[in-house]
Symmetry: C2
Subunit: 212 residues, 2 copies
Amino acid sequence: MTEERKISMAVIRRLPRYYRYLGELLEKGVDKISSRELSEKMNVTASQIRQDLNNFGGFGQQGYGYNVEYLHSEIAKILGLDQNYKMIIVGVGNLGQALANYGSFEKRGFHLVGLFDVNPRLIGMSIRGIEVKDIDQMEQFVKENKIDIAILTVPKTRVKDIAENLASWGIKGLWNFSPVDLFLPSEVQIENVHLSHSLMTLAYKINEGDNL
Amino acid sequence: MTEERKISMAVIRRLPRYYRYLGELLEKGVDKISSRELSEKMNVTASQIRQDLNNFGGFGQQGYGYNVEYLHSEIAKILGLDQNYKMIIVGVGNLGQALANYGSFEKRGFHLVGLFDVNPRLIGMSIRGIEVKDIDQMEQFVKENKIDIAILTVPKTRVKDIAENLASWGIKGLWNFSPVDLFLPSEVQIENVHLSHSLMTLAYKINEGDNL
């Protein structure tokens, strides 16, 4: 997208929500929707929706609204959901197992192909037909299978070394659940899920209540 | 905080990260830190740090920097971490079990006191000494124990009804992991963790790569 201007991450982070709502409309057989109707459903202003989508060329037609299927597929393309990704999970504790059991990621092109752990009690176990392998086998696996994404659900003391290794083996993205910020070469993209941050934000909202 | 001006959620969402870094500095016995040193550690600009903290009165002294312990405890107060919260988990599948096993929430004052599910195979099971109860017992439990927060890890088809019930029983906050947006009375605060949104954002970053 070198010809386009830079789009802020705040806009990008709102796209999956549009994508989800449009997918639900599609499932219900809705063909088109106005920005006003969409705004009521999503509880954001119609002008926010128009502004957000104008970043990518608009998609809407005056007096017609949005073609749901077209908009859904265009947002998929922007997000890169028109491609397939091979994923592994590193750390098959409770959270790793929970993520391994999420079938819905596959539908969007995210294919889980490997599970790795250090714990002998977990190695050899299978989740949805995928065997948990010893982390010693991870380098060969990542290289041979050209893995795109690693989901990191390892203890925080281990995550830095593992992430640096994965980066050196050519991984493209890390989905990091450890409460640690990773600083890696810019070829590797990082998306953090810091659960404790989210819980602290909830505590703030509870205390501020009506002042929000 | 009626006398203070409104602080944007973007600033609030950065506070847990300051809190985490300051906590790590405290553990290492660091007494004070300049905004420049803190900015290098956190990989944000020193001016961002000063601006963020100025929203709450500053805390820094010219030529001295920040007193780590004081700043840590002030941020805790702002976030409401100087209080205790009673939590329940609704839905004790893989993700619910993973969250139930997170001991680190307790340290920040979030106390898990109840687990609820509809699945007879889970009811009666214990996690960290807490028994999984039938969801039919939830109303009485929430009211008698004055539960503050419910963690929702239920299927998306069930979450709306459960959230509305919890709201009517006086819950203060919902930490929602279902891919559904909840619209509830304003007394109930909601914090969503939409994992699929985060994964889609990672896909975007992988595709845009160096253009980010």
